[in-house]
Symmetry: C2
Subunit: 440 residues, 2 copies
């Protein structure tokens, strides 16, 4: 097993979430800018997203495409992965009849804009076929009949623009293209009695993954010409293109980010990747106060993420409100509660917590010479009250109290603890702990 | 892809951690008792665990078998999975020369007792071969030369006794046996130019997984007879047994728990499974006080885990110290800090936190009519101090403060918040938050 072994060792270093977490999380298409002109797609591309599995049919309570991660169903993450690509004109999501309402509700709730929901067939191929036919009906100002159709899985949310580009271009040139990955296990043939017959020579074979791309004509013809048996038992769109249109698909090795949420353990992995993506950067707000600026400096070094320091979020600095997911407000004795309130209001107004929960950590710096007993009591309950309201808007507010001291060593230790606690709060995003005032 | 689709939908409901988390976590063999006499293995079985990948060779900082989960390397979890099986007499771990010291240190630190560490060869097959030869040298009171050798991966920590039993018995009867799983993706053959050649008929093929079992004679002969090229490039032990000993391995479909920590995302999944296993039960200690008993009753209903209620951990109740991983001590105004100290001492004495971090949550119930200001100040810092010491012993102590009130509704709400916060603390086991006194 040396070959796989080596592959896997290599893979473990590769990203399994998006290569560019910021791009993954951006709801709109602004990141397409980074493509040089030559990489622009100048033909219409649309997407079919089969999401047909119904809980009832399989005995599952919730089909995995509808399982929630930080309050949002997996299918919405996958839709977002396509919505952020400027050159994708429309996305047809195909769901089982009994999930039509649920799916429409998801589209409305998370304000997906380039999505049509279509009712599926009784098998995966019938569902994809329905999606392709729905695309054929399109011919409006918003969407032309596509030149290329990308077919993807609802449960592969981490697909990235670069790879979609490769698939789209290869599909246009060759008629069909598909993602492949190295085999993780040796594949063996079994005898009918359950014994080893032979093992395959691994170098010749690959796992067929998603996305796949087809010119509209190839995928349309393939579904027109294939048999009922294909529609019922078929396993592979690339196979239909080969058998019924004579199109040998171009195979392109995809990144590990293409992985499919298949098993229960994958739900945990997906959640972890999403949380990691959300914990890459923080915006540290000093309020322009001198002691806060010194603390900010120390935190910037100690926090294991990219930290932007700003005196406030006014004027030009409002741009941080539109970019960051984590805010750390530094304050003396709860003096900045009103500033936190203002941040929450701005984030709400900008609808920033629609797709992901945002975190605000209020760090309260109390100096030893002003031990205001009333502050000690009112501050915590004010934070708790504000946090309860913010939580309803998907904004998670936590507090950390830090006592200023003359002792350099213990002051150093406290600052490191602020960084440690803030990192844990940002990383975990636990709704159960909002409003708590933790001691550094 | 209907077939896989169905398989996967089925799998998502199946456990991916151990079916019996308690058995997974028990370090010793006591759980073998649950086997009826007929399922006892009455022939010597030993294990070879190749763990040869070295960081240097692959450019990885830490090979995944040495990555830590809650403070313990993955390989130790896998060793534990075998150590808990009474009928496995010895485990040979094969590591790269440069990791010998590291591995010996892991064995010492986590007190693994049936393990020998052997130096590996330059490829996986050479390493396994070294392990088999090392087993052949065994002939002492502690370990006879095994009748059956089980070969497993260091990075599949969730394998369970039932399945090992099936493999061992089939290996003894048939000469060789191996775990298989359904294919997750369609397997396709590629042309040399990177185009689709054909896709395999999926029903005939399976993924070959681990563990595999062989009679000592079969695996020994296979390695004696095979070629240098097999040792260098070979991919499959079952194949060697077939080619060089004419032994067709019996193939047994394994549970999804056999999965292999392969990609970076799998590290998150493994950690999540381990945390879940540790969060199945809690022991609630009332101190025999009446208000605590009423609160215990409410918590028992609200907590999403199995809860055992006990007045104390003395006398017969000390048994809970040996079984549980989570303790919730109910207390009035920090009156139970000494009891918590006693729990920590007992857990340390019993070496209970050797393999997993233990959690203690101290719930402080303060009544409105005794607002002791000194308690409010001293209590929190006493908890923090105690938590700092306990953390050094892998015991995580957290506090939750609950204010008793006459208002039934807000009292009910507070109790639910205790349950919610305690669940989050137990589940996350965050070292950054120990010693905090959270408000319910």
């Amino acid at each position: 097993m040396e070959l796989t072994h080596t592959n896997q060792q290599k893979d473990i270093n590769e990203p399994h979430g998006p290569v560019n977490p910021a791009a993954f999380l951006t709801g709109d298409a602004e990141n397409s800018d980074r493509y040089p002109a030559g990489r622009c797609v100048d033909f219409p591309v649309s997407v079919v997203l089969p999401a047909g599995g119904s809980g009832e049919r399989t005995g599952l309570q919730t089909p995995k495409q509808f399982c929630s991660f930080l309050g949002r169903p997996l299918i919405s993450y996958t839709i977002q992965a396509f919505e952020r690509v400027s050159w994708i004109q429309s996305i047809v999501v195909v769901v089982a009849k009994e999930n039509m309402e649920l799916m429409m509700d998801i589209v409305r709730r998370f304000q997906h804009s380039r999505v049509r929901v279509v009712s599926g067939g009784s098998t995966r191929h019938r569902s994809i076929c329905n999606g392709v036919l729905a695309l054929g009906e399109e011919d409006s100002a918003a969407a032309r009949r596509p030149k290329v159709v990308i077919i993807h899985d609802a449960v592969r949310p981490f697909v990235e623009e670069d790879f979609l580009y490769e698939i789209a271009v290869a599909a246009k040139d060759q008629g069909a293209a598909g993602a492949i990955r190295p085999l993780v296990s040796t594949v063996i043939a079994t005898t009918s009695e359950g014994y080893l017959d032979h093992s395959l020579e691994r170098a010749r074979y690959r796992a067929s993954e998603m996305p796949q791309g087809f010119t509209y004509d190839v995928i349309y013809q393939a579904y027109q010409r294939c048999t009922e048996s294909d529609l019922e038992f078929g396993t592979e769109c690339l196979h239909l293109a080969l058998q019924y249109c004579g199109t040998n698909a171009k195979l392109i090795e995809g990144p590990p980010t293409l992985w499919k949420v298949t098993y229960r353990r994958d739900l945990a992995a997906a959640e972890s990747i999403i949380k990691e993506s959300l914990s890459q950067t923080a915006c540290l707000i000093t309020g322009g106060r001198a002691p806060a600026a010194a603390l900010a400096d120390a935190l910037q070094k100690a926090l294991d993420m990219e930290v932007i320091v700003t005196p406030d979020l006014c004027g030009e600095n409002t741009r941080h409100l539109l970019k960051e997911w984590n805010f750390i407000q530094l304050s003396s004795n709860y003096s900045s509660l009103s500033e936190v309130e203002a941040i929450i209001e701005s984030l709400e107004a900008a609808n920033r917590a629609l797709l992901h929960p945002l975190v605000i950590v209020l760090v309260c710096l109390s100096s030893a010479d002003e031990p205001s007993v009333s502050g000690e009591v009112e501050g915590p309950s004010a934070i708790m009250a504000l946090a309860s309201t913010a939580k309803l808007q998907n904004i998670l507010l936590y507090g950390i109290q830090l006592h200023q001291t003359e002792d350099t060593q213990s002051w150093e230790r406290s600052r490191l603890r602020v960084a440690e606690i803030a990192s844990a709060l940002i990383r975990e995003r636990s709704p159960a702990l909002v409003g708590q005032l933790l001691q550094a």
